[in-house]
């Protein structure tokens, strides 16, 4: 199973090139939140993607659909467009006159978040239901409700990311949307690989997208004390994965996509092959304080063990690890223990490059952006320097990339987890030459 297309939109840029250059340059995509006034929030920071007009990414015939697109959907559409363009596959959305794929043989599998509605959009209807300054559900039923735009719900169903992309590019094969929060994209990419491997489709687009720059979503993370309240006046240093001064995560928005196909399919059409999906593994984190990772990182370790077994490699063959690395001290330490447990002695050699200090945590998109970053590192034989990990946290024995380095990456490991429990790992293989 190989990757032949890549797409990204992130706090570092509109596409793969800008995102990867940003990571290599140590740029930080985190800044003070501008999407809304964050002054009442304990974390006033966010990783916001650039502004863009979604119309320019859509075929003329589908431009009416923009009214049904939440920000999450827009981000996914942008990244999927790039992934198909890069792959050389011509879908209906790329060029309807020169389609070179069989739409019934294309699958889609995306990670999506719990999309929160736009409160500003809803506010006039809510206000009309509170004539005395107190919300009255009965008035909502006969007055407020009627003011809600008829297709309102369709903007917020998580499966609509895949539906819109499917309609734009004419994807008629299997479609799925994984909603496992911050680990969703890994699960989606793995499932897509299985769909293609089984022969249910020849091609799959897979990844994830989420826009966490929404007041409710952000406030939730503040309430859970997952978002940092430190460094609000120094955004670039706020998110510090595996660092002794880690104070919490920063949340953002983005999307990452890959195009997957069988090696034979890719070779037959002469496609450029970026990497091979060599193996994956999944498990659960189980602990009573389930907003956190269990302290010994067992669920992460099992996922990595399974992914290495699936790829049939030993830990010594892994040259690059992109961890989940939230910047939440207890979770980072637990994750480090899980990685150390799986890699054993090899952990001192595998270079660890956390991305969230620059990309922020983009929720359901984060795993896909990490896969994209790992593929770029393989292609460029370049591992960027970790940002904001100046003094490694006590107890963390990972080999964090202190400086950027030229290096041929044979195998890269990406891993992740989410509150609640699901864990995942993916092994990518360098197939240059």
């Amino acid at each position: 199973m190989v990757i032949t297309g890549l797409g990204a939109i992130s706090p570092l840029g509109m596409n793969i090139a800008q995102t990867w250059e940003g990571l290599c340059d140590g740029r930080c995509g985190i800044d003070r939140t501008t999407a809304f006034d964050p002054s009442g929030f304990s974390c006033k920071l966010a990783g916001q993607a650039p502004d863009f007009k979604i119309q320019s990414f859509l075929p003329k015939t589908l431009r009416k659909a923009v009214k049904l697109m939440s920000r999450d959907i827009e981000l996914a559409v942008v990244a999927a467009n790039e992934a198909f363009s890069v792959s050389g596959l011509v879908t209906r959305g790329i060029d309807p006159d020169n389609v070179n794929v069989d739409p019934t043989r294309v699958a889609i599998n995306l990670g999506a978040g719990l999309i929160s509605c736009d409160l500003v959009e809803l506010a006039p209807a809510v206000a009309a239901s509170a004539p005395d300054g107190k919300f009255d559900i009965r008035r909502w039923g006969n007055v407020g409700l009627e003011l809600v735009t008829p297709l309102w719900l369709l903007k917020y169903l998580p499966n609509m990311l895949a539906c819109h992309i499917g309609i734009i590019h004419d994807i008629q094969g299997p479609s799925n949307t994984i909603t496992c929060a911050e680990v969703s994209a890994f699960l989606a990419i793995s499932e897509a690989a299985a769909v293609v491997a089984r022969g249910d489709s020849d091609i799959a687009v897979a990844g994830g997208a989420e826009a966490k720059v929404n007041p409710i979503v952000m406030f939730r993370q503040c309430l859970l004390n997952r978002a940092t309240s430190q460094n609000n006046d120094d955004p670039a240093s706020a998110c510090r994965p595996f660092d002794a001064d880690a104070g919490g995560a920063v949340f953002g928005e983005g999307s990452g996509m890959v195009v997957l196909e069988s090696l034979r399919n890719a070779q037959e059409r002469g496609a450029r092959i970026y990497a091979e999906v060599a193996g994956y593994g999944h498990s659960n984190n189980i602990c009573s304080a389930y907003e956190h990772l269990e302290p010994d990182g067992k669920g992460v370790r099992i996922a990595i063990d399974k992914a290495m077994a699936d790829a049939d490699i030993s830990p010594e063959e892994i040259d690059l690890i992109i961890p989940h690395g939230m910047g939440i001290a207890a979770d980072d330490l637990a994750e480090a223990r899980g990685i150390e447990g799986a890699l054993g002695k090899a952990v001192k050699d595998a270079v660890v490059f956390p991305t969230k200090s620059m990309l922020s945590c983009t929720g359901a998109a984060s795993g896909a952006l990490d896969v994209v970053a790992a593929v770029c590192a393989m292609s460029d034989e370049m591992i960027p320097a970790a940002k904001n990990c100046e003094k490694k946290a006590d107890g963390c024995n990972l080999n964090i990339a202190t400086e950027s380095q030229r290096k041929k990456v044979r195998y890269a490991l990406c891993c992740g987890y989410t509150y609640g429990g699901q864990t995942a790992a993916i092994v990518l293989k360098n197939v240059t030459g």
């Binding site: 499966n159 799925n176 909603t179 189980i286 609640g420």
Partner: protein
């Protein structure tokens, strides 16, 4: 050779009851689980009724209710459904030392699960306080003041759709592959299909698969009412959901959880557990048409049914029963009928095709597996459940929808269809398992 996949446990919590036998008996008697909404005051909404789970106490199913007390309605339902299904399949729950002969790293979970609901008073109250109608903007400082005092951290966390799966993992100690998907009304049928594939591929020996969802909250009902997808026969909830009838006017939201234990045949044999049925095939497709409508000719639905038949290696004539998606909307029932005719040809009129949604309501993410469970029971008892409220058939819809009364008949192979908003189509086929 891929592993064969069998069903070894069933569990359900839904508007017709809190266990499989009770629900099945009610269905065969043609009872409706729909009634006036009580969870919130819906008296002025266009639809004032729904299918609620009533008098259910999740704490009866667990020794550790505190661990699950923040769970959303779907999570609470899934605890009951999962515990029942695990018990039937001989899977030990809530123990560090299971004796069920299943390695925890080989025990996975796949749910089609929905989001929790916001606390309405806080959600709406914060907007009221913060909205400046003159400026047409929100004062986010004011909003945070209300949010800070009203939003509870764990309640917020539990709104995430991955949380029901997380609680099932805590109950069972499952350390195998675990996913949760949300492809609208097709979600839990997708979960069955994908979990089947994981067992075939050898990623796990046992998968706890199913769905959990409740959209019975003000925003959920608002959303579907604005789409004009819901029945508004408020005067008569029990007869409101009328799939395939001329007077059908939409679906009715239900809620609940449904779980099946899927297991590789070799694991089931090794453990010596009773095999309830075999999953012999699945099919999955997308309409790629419109986010608002199904493809007019049922292109995606047809593809999914055909793929499932091909995967199962059976001819259309071998199918004994079809559990339809049958939502009771004008569009679904007519396009689904077209799709069944296109695939089954001359057999279409002969194969009974009923909609148990007429009794359960539409469990959204959990609907597909609730319906799959009825297929398993139909095979066990050789009787198919009816489509109730079908006393004025739509003259354009001419399949055998099993109107109003359950029908005893030999059932060996059953097809379960689910079609999600936006065009995801999933079909699963199960078969009577004979001997070992």
């Amino acid at each position: 050779m891929a592993e064969r996949v069998v069903i070894t446990g069933l569990g359900i919590v839904c508007p017709l009851g809190h266990d499989v036998e009770t629900v099945w008996e009610a269905m065969l008697a043609g009872k409706s689980g729909l009634a006036t909404t009580t969870i919130f005051d819906a008296s002025t909404f266009p639809s004032t009724f729904c299918g609620e789970v009533k008098n259910y106490d999740f704490a009866k199913h667990t020794n550790n209710p505190e661990l699950h007390m923040h769970g959303n309605r779907g999570t609470r339902f899934v605890i009951g459904a999962a515990v029942q299904a695990c018990r039937q399949a001989g899977i030990d729950v809530e123990t560090d030392q299971p004796r069920d002969n299943i390695e925890r790293e080989r025990l996975g979970i796949y749910l089609g699960a929905g989001e929790g609901s916001v606390k309405s008073d806080v959600f709406f109250g914060a907007i009221v306080k913060a909205w400046d109608a003159d400026k047409n903007e929100m004062d986010w400082r004011k909003w945070t003041e209300v949010a800070q005092s009203g939003m509870e951290p764990m309640h917020e966390l539990e709104q995430e759709p991955n949380m029901p799966a997380a609680h099932v993992a805590m109950l069972t100690g499952a350390r195998g592959p675990t996913r949760s998907c949300l492809t609208a009304c097709a979600a839990s049928t997708h979960a069955i299909a994908a979990a089947t594939e994981m067992l075939r591929r050898g990623d796990a020996d046992v998968m706890i698969a199913g769905g959990a969802h409740s959209m019975i909250h003000p925003l959920g009902v608002t959303g579907f009412n604005r789409l004009t997808a819901l029945s508004t026969r408020n005067e008569s909830p029990e007869t409101a959901l009328r799939p395939f009838s001329a007077s059908r006017d939409g679906f009715v939201i239900g809620e609940g959880a449904a779980i099946v234990v899927l297991e590789s045949l070799s694991s089931a044999k090794k453990r010596g557990v009773e095999i309830l049925a075999e999953v012999i095939g699945y099919g999955s497709s997308s309409d790629a048409f419109r986010v608002t409508d199904m493809h007019e000719e049922g292109r995606g639905a047809i593809a999914a049914i055909r793929l499932a038949l091909a995967d199962a290696g059976i001819a259309p004539s071998e199918v004994d029963y079809i559990s339809t998606h049958g939502t009771g909307t004008a569009e679904n029932d007519s396009i689904e009928t077209k799709a069944i005719k296109a695939v089954f040809g001359e057999n279409a009129g002969r194969i009974p095709a009923s909609s148990v949604k007429s009794m359960l309501g539409h469990l959204i993410g959990a609907a597909g597996v609730a319906e799959l469970i009825t297929c398993v029971m139909a095979i066990r008892d050789n009787i198919v459940p009816p489509t109730i409220n079908l006393d004025d058939p739509d003259p354009d819809l001419d399949l055998d929808y099993v109107p109003n009364e359950a029908r005893p008949m030999q059932v060996n192979i059953a097809v379960n269809e689910s079609f999600g908003f936006g065009g995801q189509n999933n079909v699963v086929i199960i078969k009577r398992h004979q001997g070992y």
